[in-house]
Symmetry: C2
Subunit: 176 residues, 2 copies
Amino acid sequence: MTDDVGGAVLRGGPEPGMLRSGQVADAAGVNVETLRYYERRRLLPQPDRSPGGHRLYPTDAVTVPRVVKAAQRLGFSLDEVAELLAVGRPGHPTPGRPRGRTTGTGRRGLQERAATKLAEVETRIADLQVIASTLRAALDARCDDLMACAANETCCPIPFSAIASIPVGAPDADRP
Amino acid sequence: MTDDVGGAVLRGGPEPGMLRSGQVADAAGVNVETLRYYERRRLLPQPDRSPGGHRLYPTDAVTVPRVVKAAQRLGFSLDEVAELLAVGRPGHPTPGRPRGRTTGTGRRGLQERAATKLAEVETRIADLQVIASTLRAALDARCDDLMACAANETCCPIPFSAIASIPVGAPDADRP
DNA sequence: GGTAACCCTGTACCCGGGTACGGGATGCAA
DNA sequence: TTGCATCCCGTACCCGGGTACAGGGTTACC
């Protein structure tokens, strides 16, 4: 089992053309801890190490955390991003996180995943549009008391049944 | 200090016209544990108790968890819902949760809060529309490998800078 | 060679919105 | 009166995406 994901140990002076974790973190706009966290989740490959055990990254390593952040902003979870990155990598079929449940969506290409995500995003937009118009209706009705309003169903502008299928959650949910 | 939020203890037979927690939960479509959770967070007033300590709710108590769920779907957090409910209640100025930080938005009416939320929802819709068109661009470009794509910035359809301001998070984030 | 700045590891904690569980007490009907 | 369903309370745990901290070791620069 040459599970050769680990980085080599380099020896010599102040490694030219190599970056230390803080530099990568700064360049990518993330925390050093976050880099380690990504490494634990196999988003980032294990970098080489200095003789003293410090991580040393090639200069293009900054691309990974940047891509991760971009993909997150496009709506992908870190698990999904890990799969997206694995798609493009030669050997490893799946990153094989230590103890994770499978998400069920294995082995699909970037195209297919993007299409799926696009559909999810469009669904969410539609939901939010229903929410927005409901809020506008509540504003128009000059409703002042939620409970009083909800009590007499005949006049309440909140369409309880119409919004029943909308997932619970803030519109700008889990901003870090 | 007549901090009279606590429910009375009733005595007698199988209380007519009163509901037990399981019945309220079923009628509202939530878990019994969730009702207790809402009570802890002062979303639900403390109900009366049977001589043995079981909660007994008036029949209209089901409205509260239903309204809470509806408000959540409209994008309000439980803290915000607590404030919304407090607005309509006579005595208590704020629900005064035990050890919570203040959200900063104190003492505003339903109208104003709805308007704020509407603006948030509209912002989120706009963000998701940018995301959707980015995903469409990635599909159009028939991009197959995230890393390869991101590496040569000149052709990559992902507008890193354009999406940089979008909050990180799944489109359908924190569905329970 | 001094020393400040960085980096290492592991573990615990944060957020919101609940769920799950253990061990006992009640309610209600047959 | 017995049996079973329901309920009580407190506490711990779940999820995702990190952050914070303690207690050391290493590097870079002067």
